[in-house]
Amino acid sequence: MDYEFAYSFKKPQLTNNWILDMNPLSKLNLLIILFIIPITVQSWKWNVMIIIFYFLVALVAGCFKRFTRLYLRFGLMVGLLLFVLRALFIPGENLLYKLWFINITQEGVDSGLQFSTLVVAICGAIILYSIVTRAKDFMYMIEKLGASRVISYVILSSFQSIIDLGEMSKVILDSQRARGIETEGNIRQRIKAFIPILGPLFLGAISNAEEKAIAMDARAFSMPIKNTHLCHLRSLPVGEKAILIAANIAFIGFVVWRLMA
């Protein structure tokens, strides 16, 4: 029996990486700032800078690979799509290129660039948060804020099912491959394999939800008492408090400055 591990739950579980160990609320605070900046600034250059900044944060937090994979998959795909749509269909004066009936204009490209980087930057804040925040810390936090167990579970498991979409679709893709649907070839084959699983991904989520709900009920999820926690978080260190205050003051200053300008 690994008692050391069992008793490690008596202390906060730290990873010794200051970003990961930061309180989830502090992280939320900082990321909300990053979330709002692109909305107030409205400049694609700022957006790109913030996006680059996310990668740096992920690097420092030691989650670069995981972040990059997820971000490329969701964020950049969406971004590219939005850019193309805008670039193709926003009308303007300065024609850049003509393709049959489609006019690509400078305005379209600008607007596409602006809008897509904005969305990608915002997506980035959310994805980064989900990567650098341990699920259980997040659960702990929202329960401490007064959310019931059921609510935190629902939030958490939907939060996770987004992350786990990869996991879940891997299970289904495995079953597809085992029957003979090609999933390993070129992009066309992958898409072809993916279409039949869209249904079960959706249905599976529903039927699982039903079975899960009963299974979780057996674990006393519906108890109307305040639940306790096996894991807890450390109280806010002074340094972290200082960073937060500084960041918030700087942010408010920045917003005021932008509004004046």
Binding site: S175, A178, I181
Partner: protein, 278 residues
């Protein structure tokens, strides 16, 4: 023939689940794989259709190294029924589930009907074709996934824990089905924890423990090998246990053999000193 040659497999998190597996499964052969929970049985059979890619070593199916094939290509040879049926099912009726791949492969309707009917008959799921697979009880859900694989008519069929939760009739359906498949010359590889079922329906048994194959022998030899029993955390059928405690010879694991032995050498075993053991 399926051949595992010195295969080692590690999961993405680094955990090594199979070590130096060597195994040959011939055409038309019936093999049971038994062994402790977590021994690596499921992991090992998934190597055979490349759902798991060997970290080192080779897996050869009918002369082809699986390295050069995709799982989808191998599926024409090796059919795999998952341990957890819920990982496999995704259509909204049982009939659609069984026909899905046949339609995908664009077989002609007559062939589809024939294969479906045969698979349905072998698994005994006639009455449930119109139901949603997720609404039928667990034991039956397993048979649906088996029917799906049978309809593919592959030369090798792997069943992962088909006996779990089955009643007498279910076990009978399974054994009849294995007989029928063997008559057609197909190989059936069955992972199971049901020792009576193994004793009754298999001659060749592969025992796994701690990531490795620790024995590959006949059922009666395995059940009379104390070391294998202990390591693989298996148990001989009760009949075998009794024969052992009575000090009977001949690696008995079947009831009729025990009755025979008892009626012939009743006096002998009493004098043989088994009383003293008590």
């Amino acid at each position: 023939m399926i051949e595992l040659k010195d295969v080692t497999f590690a999961y993405p998190n680094g955990y090594i689940a199979n070590e130096n597996l060597n195994l040959v499964i011939n055409n038309g052969e019936r093999v049971a794989i038994i062994g402790q929970n977590g021994a690596g049985k499921t992991t090992a059979v998934k190597l055979m259709n490349r759902l798991n890619k060997p970290t080192t070593g080779d897996v050869i199916v009918d002369g082809n190294n699986t390295k050069e094939r995709t799982t989808a290509q191998i599926s024409a040879y090796v059919g795999y029924v998952f341990q957890n049926p819920d990982e496999q099912i995704f259509n909204s009726t049982v009939a659609m589930e069984v026909e899905y791949m046949l339609k995908y492969r664009k077989l002609d309707q007559k062939d589809i009907d024939r294969r479906r009917d045969r698979a349905v008959e072998l698994t005994g799921i006639q009455d449930y074709l119109k139901m949603n697979p997720l609404d039928v009880p667990y034991s039956l859900r397993k048979f649906i996934t088996i029917a799906v694989v049978l309809a593919m008519e592959t030369p090798y069929i792997i069943l992962d824990e088909p006996t779990a939760g089955q009643d007498l009739q279910g076990l009978k359906t399974l054994s009849n089905m294995m007989d029928a498949l063997q008559d057609e010359g197909r190989s059936v590889i069955t992972i199971t924890h049901d020792m009576e079922f193994v004793a009754d329906h298999f001659t060749r048994v592969v025992a796994m423990a701690n990531k490795q194959i620790i024995a590959d022998d006949t059922a009666d030899n395995i059940f009379w090998n104390a070391e294998v029993i202990k390591e693989a955390r298996i148990k001989e059928p009760q009949i075998g246990e009794i024969a052992k405690e009575l000090g009977l010879k001949g690696n008995i694991i079947h009831r009729r053999d025990l009755v025979d032995a008892l009626s012939h050498q009743k006096k002998a075993f009493i004098r043989g000193g088994s009383n003293e053991k008590e």
